[in-house]
Subunit: 363 residues, 2 copies
């Protein structure tokens, strides 16, 4: 980000603005705060693409009636350790945390739980949800399917979303291990960045509209597709495709949500599919009480040992050695809590437009 | 395999031989049959590296007292939806199916379950276990940590196993979607094959003992390491490392098994670590009753639709279009059930040696 112009804002100021914007589009105050929390966690953790940069889209989608600001989240099927939830076409930022709470409550009762969610919308960073589980001495999982933008291996069309998987494990003295990964080779935000800087993409990230591998980010955006983790057959691209398929099926067919190429458009700039095969997009939340498997203190000591052991791995040439999953985001959070959140100018301009439209002061 | 000399045997003959060899090392008959089933499923599905080719190692490890043939599998901690199981240092081929049964029974009661297993050994192909779950209208998960052979991204040492993840989803008219993938770029069996044929490795598979990327399979085997899915930072190698870490932690610290570089050696040819941090290796089994989330018939119809939709994806240039996960293994199984199991000569020689040693006829 160093070579892109930004303006820095205190995290609290952005949070307050988000709450007021959500309230402005009739999201109840408690839900508006939750939604702002989810977006703020992305900005704090340095995942700018999923933070306040998306506020404009949510605002717009609610304003035109595509997302329901006052969703009534209901359980439509239930066992002791499972639930299927209908999100009433609400903000994923509101539906997701509610479903995750239900999942964690169930895990407290019987040791573990899975909750499938349909009729919902984009839910922010996948990593937000397992971070909540850590507060309850649980290991949390989170997955979501998303608008199609990824080609299956050997395919020449957008058939899957970036379909992330997140999970987190608490340490005792060490900070938690936090895994939060799209099942693509690279994040879409990095393709947007390449366009903004007019730089070529690394090999293995994208194909053009005819299915040929391309290094031109414009060709990916212009009807091309991103590639799944592994990129090509020789490097295990079928495995990234398998992971994206797994997330798609758990979130879509298992909950009754849309899946694959039938997922709804993320914003008004994109076109919805010609038919629906379910309701909205889908999420899939899991929770596991650590105490249901092993003494939590013993587990956390082992995690400390795991972290220290992996940090001590001999470094590969020209590197500083392995990181622990979650390191970069935690380091970003320390800096951003202290110094504020840097926003790129196009995002600032979008937020100023929302401010003008709603009368809510931004700066 | 076409250019490697093989001898073909009927699947039943190999199965019978395996049962008798396991019985010969005092594995109870029912367990011997289960163990043979697991190995046979690998050979039938074309995953030769995990089938009867491993019988010699198991036979040897039991013979020298490193694996307990008469393991008493016990539940050491339990909730309605979870269990932690001690495998009594048994064959993973016996402990795994028992733990998986316990998991599926629990899922039948409360909708879903996870079972963590410690003090166990290598359990065959990860995909065997979710295939069992399909028989009960469940979605099964299976993971295991394994002997260290993979470097974390930016590391120059073997710190993780190939740590596979498997899951399967039933169709109604279509065959099931079966995902079974090591979290490495390529299977170790393909590196062994490159050595046998004296061919270079593709880029992104391996590093040498100093941590430099190498195309020489000998340099990988000689103190080098395999690379996680994604291979390098630009292609998402941190994500493959994250997946391998996730499997390692769920199977190791959560069950009380060894993890990472402390996992026991797979065979007598490898050296055990200098210290233990748990017992044996670990597995992690999950089961989800489909009916706990959605009408199973509706789910299976959606899976059929999913499969047909993805098969109809426009093909990338010079390909026949995307496969459905599990296609290659199912096609192998049709051929192998009909024509028999081809074994490479070194495996045949190993089995002849076991036959000679035990007096059990092989051919």
């Amino acid at each position: 980000m160093a070579d892109v112009e930004t303006i820095t804002y205190p995290a609290e100021q952005l949070h307050e603005f988000m709450v007021r914007v959500f309230e402005n589009i009739e999201v109840p105050t408690a839900d508006a705060k939750t939604a702002a929390d989810v977006l703020a966690s992305a900005d704090l953790r340095g995942i700018e693409s999923h933070g306040i940069a998306r506020l404009t889209v949510y605002h717009e989608m609610v304003n035109v009636g595509r997302i329901n600001p006052k969703a009534n989240v209901t359980i439509v099927r239930e066992r002791k350790a499972t639930a299927t939830i209908d999100g009433d076409n609400g903000l994923g930022l509101v539906v997701g945390p509610k479903a995750n709470d239900i999942c964690m409550d169930k895990a407290d009762q019987v040791g573990t739980a899975w909750v499938a969610v349909r009729n919902t919308n984009h839910y922010g960073i996948a990593g937000y949800y397992p971070l909540e589980a850590l507060k309850r001495d649980q290991i949390g999982w989170s997955m979501t399917n998303t608008t199609r933008i990824v080609a299956p291996l050997w395919g020449a069309d957008r058939m899957l979303g970036t379909n992330p998987i997140a999970i987190a494990f608490p340490g005792k003295e060490e900070p938690p291990i936090v895994i939060d990964m799209a099942t693509t080779t690279a994040a879409f935000g990095r393709i947007e960045m390449a366009i903004r800087k007019d730089r070529p993409l690394p090999d293995g990230w994208a194909i053009d509209k005819d299915g040929y591998e391309t290094n031109d980010p414009h060709k990916m955006v212009d009807g091309g597709a991103m590639l799944p983790l592994g990129s090509e057959r020789e490097r295990g691209g079928h495995k990234g495709y398998c992971l994206a398929a797994m997330v798609d099926i758990l979130c879509g067919p298992l909950s009754g949500a849309n899946w694959g190429p039938f997922t709804p458009a993320f914003s008004l700039a994109h076109r919805d599919p010609d038919q629906w095969v379910g309701k909205g997009i889908g999420h899939f939340f899991g929770a596991m009480q650590i105490d249901a498997f092993i003494d939590p203190d013993e587990f956390k000591q082992q995690i400390d040992h795991w972290i220290r052991t992996f940090r001590a791995t001999p470094a590969a040439p020209e590197t500083d050695g392995p990181l622990i999953p979650g390191d970069p985001e935690r380091e970003a959070e320390v800096i951003r809590r202290r110094d504020g959140i840097p926003l790129v100018i196009p995002v600032v301009e979008d937020l100023r437009a929302v401010s003008k439209q709603t009368g809510i002061p931004f700066e």
